[in-house]
């Protein structure tokens, strides 16, 4: 964890590939942190859902990565960065119900193809940067106050 300045908080949470046992822990931690910051409960809820989906994407699809939480007086940013493999077709990946999860993963009740769409639904601003072979960064922004207000 590094605080860039006094008014912004940044926390990193490592997520391992196929670490199903720890799945959900980052979302719980993020929720606890936001609650302790006194963030309104509907925003905490949205951030928690987005974090959970981000975390599960890292567990299921990535070669491992991290979730970064950034909070300042204006916004909550949940960023999931991984080390690959990258998403070849982002538009397809965003489609509800589309998933590349393996049968084993689906048997565990995951891989319904709702992760990214859910994250977008929870966010005020949503962005995916991905390059095959290098990795993916999914950024979810939830505004605490209207920008500029």
């Amino acid at each position: 964890m590094t605080a860039r300045d006094e008014h912004a908080l940044e926390m990193d949470f490592a997520v391992g590939r196929h670490d199903f046992a720890a799945a959900g822990e980052v979302a719980s931690r993020v929720k606890q942190v936001l609650r302790q910051l006194g963030i309104a409960s509907d925003l905490v809820r949205r951030a928690a859902v987005a974090t959970y989906e981000a975390e599960m994407n890292l567990v299921i699809h990535s070669n491992g990565g991290k979730v970064v939480l950034r909070v300042d007086s204006e916004r909550i940013v949940v960023e999931a960065c991984d080390l690959g493999p990258g998403i070849p077709d982002i538009e397809l990946a965003m489609r509800e119900g589309y998933s590349t999860a393996s049968d084993e993963v689906r048997e565990m009740g995951f891989g319904a193809g709702m992760g990214l769409p859910n994250m977008r639904r929870c966010s005020d601003s949503f962005k995916i940067d991905s390059s095959v072979g290098r990795g993916t960064t999914v950024t979810t922004v939830i505004y605490i106050a209207e920008p500029g207000s």
Partner: protein
Amino acid sequence: MESRFHSVKLLEDKCKGCTNCIKRCPTEAIRVREGKAVINAARCIDCGECVRTCENHAKAIMANSLDDLQEFDYNIALPAPALYSQIGKASGPDEVVWALEQIGFDAVCDVSFGADIITECTRRYIRGNDLPRPMISSACPAVVRLVQVRFPGLIPHLAKIESPMYAAARVARARVGEQLRIPDDRIGVFFISPCAAKITAIISPLGSEKSYVNGALAVSDIYGPLMASLGRGGSSRPLYRGSGLGFGWAMNGGELRALGDMKALAVDGIHNVIGVLEEADSGRLQRVDYIEALACQAGCVGGPANVENPFVARVRMRDVSAGVDAGSMATSLQLARDCIDEFGEGYFCMHEPIQPLAGMELAESLESAIARMGELEKIVAELPGLDCGACGSPTCRTHAEDVVCGRAIETDCVFKLRERMQQMAEDLLRLARTDLPSMARRDDN
């Protein structure tokens, strides 16, 4: 910070300042300070976990006493179904009702009947409302408080239905007032409670402006007098008695059994409840329609104000539930529906909104909370992570919270203190070895 009423209290002279209770508290509400446990009123949810944990019996549940019945002209006892699980097989429910009359009550209305009413209301509520899934039962007041303090995001999921106790109180009051022409304010209605949370809910109601129950007696407080009367063996009928399914509400899974077929989940034990609510709060249980969540393991039969072992009590509860069914199941369920028709469905719904309760925030403004969170993370990184509790806080993390909020200092941690002492000793040694100008230089330095 808002100060709230709690029925769980510390008996200072009995508290030895051990750290057992702080470890079990689901909202991290307890600290040990100056050798005694201190409960943070803003966080306490009255689950009674500390009452159960304390080996010195220093945590007590404050309730009314039988003397308080004298304030009223006519007193009605509302025994929780769990009361019947505390009494040996030799005495049936009618004997227990008679014994309640012997210790001072004029009439008895079984809360199991309220449970039948609430079962029907809940069924209609689930069917009739397009509410966020999963819906969470608000039958256990400790769970409702837990949601308010730790999971405010789930408040819209709470079923806005009154408790069986409330339903029983309203119908009993109405019937006695009407038939005996006693003014409402002369009728005393007392719940016989297996737990602290229910008692707190009576003093400060969850979703209604007014409590229809005047007070509560803890099962453990009336157990002695009740058993003494039971030995004399009379028998009497209550104003209303619920079905076996209504009695079943006192056991884990009982509410769901009464509600019947649906996609539902039952969880008991406050720490297990937290696990399930974590899942729900991250949007993982949308395919579940309803959650029955009870703070006590085994359900209300395991309440902290009971006297029996929860698992023994559950077996007895099953017997009572089965015994009641044999005669009057259909009758009491029909009677419950009649009551809903008579009073109207809305009568048993909560009318006041359930609000989030503050208590977990590090600071009032977001800016200072962010600054404190940054500080907190730095402190946590330097702490041993043993969660030993010797500082009086339940974990290293809560200790760090207390430090940044000015409620503790870093060297309250024995490991930090030790580090600091070692540093001081080294400084002292270095100082002691410094040559004085008047002395000859030593070689060993």
